[in-house]
Symmetry: C2
């Protein structure tokens, strides 16, 4: 398919990650990324809608997985279904810790990237809210379960990438959701 080497997209992503990590996001130009990947600036923009998106491509896939998982969950629509979905995704979706760690370091150093990250997580929460409602949970409860689930995921993810013991993401997720459930038990967010 490609004109020369295959995997243009992943080569671009790798090149971008390397340069972002070494010189910072702002100090890296798209032309440099493309050159390192042996491609053209124009081609970069055919694979990624913008310079930031390199770090977030794939989040749509995660969102789809979560939505499908909640939609087909054996548990009733609620926090437990969301927790299950995240734990399942943890095993099939996420890249190795080192990559995630490096990626997070880059994001944490740049406001524009944080903006994009927050927006992506917001979309995930919105999508989860939608499925939960579709499965019969009423409106505010669905939103709360979704937002709380995403919040628990944020915590688990942050602990995962900064865990010196190298614990699995799934384990951090379980802990995080246990803490959340303990806190919210009396509210019964559809769980």
């Amino acid at each position: 398919m490609g004109r020369w080497e295959p995997n243009a997209q992943s080569r671009l992503r790798q090149a971008a990650m390397d340069l972002y990590a070494e010189y910072g996001f702002d100090q890296t130009t798209v032309a440099e990324i493309a050159e390192r990947a042996g491609l053209t600036e124009r081609t970069f923009f055919r694979h990624f809608t913008d310079k930031r998106e390199v770090l977030f491509a794939g989040s749509e896939r995660l969102q789809e997985m979560l939505v499908e998982s909640v939609a087909g969950s054996s548990r009733p629509a609620g926090l437990d279904a969301v927790a299950d979905a995240f734990e399942r995704a943890a095993e099939h979706y996420f890249p190795p810790v080192e990559y995630s760690r490096q990626r997070q370091t880059v994001i944490d150093a740049n406001p524009a990237l944080q903006e994009r990250e927050i927006a992506k997580l917001h979309r995930v929460a919105a999508a989860l809210t939608e499925v939960l409602r579709a499965r019969g949970l009423d409106d505010p409860a669905a939103a709360l379960a979704a937002e709380a689930g995403v919040a628990a995921f944020k915590v688990a993810f942050a602990r995962w990438v900064s865990d010196p013991a190298g614990g699995a993401l799934a384990d951090h997720l379980r802990e995080s959701f246990i803490g959340l459930r303990a806190l919210l038990a009396p509210a019964r967010l559809g769980s």
Copy 2:
């Protein structure tokens, strides 16, 4: 102070709003905004960090008001203090409905602006979480009270700008928080 007419900043904001509303955000160039305001492109960027920020300048002020309000609230740190803060801000901060409505229409039509809006609200939630913790609320409860408060505000704001009856924002806020409290009563989020 100004070279010619005063109020350069508000003239720029007005010009931007008019053009964004009439032609859309992407179709409006900064040079056009500046020209309509009788100023230069360079001057625009001295008043606003970027083209999007025109629509969000002032959100820092809102955030400060909320934080101060919660910090000095007579109520215990929790949802009620947050609710009070929003209701007080509703009376002293927000522009007329027509302006807010027009602004929201522009934002809703553009993903980049939505990203910025979400990020701003996220910062507000983070700041509120911080005050609540400073006032002694424990960590997850503080975050939940802040996020829930912001969520209630979102709902109230959306209803306010789309309310044909022209109800006051403060009234929508009260209703929204009543609904939230009813839902969360058993959880006791510090309220």
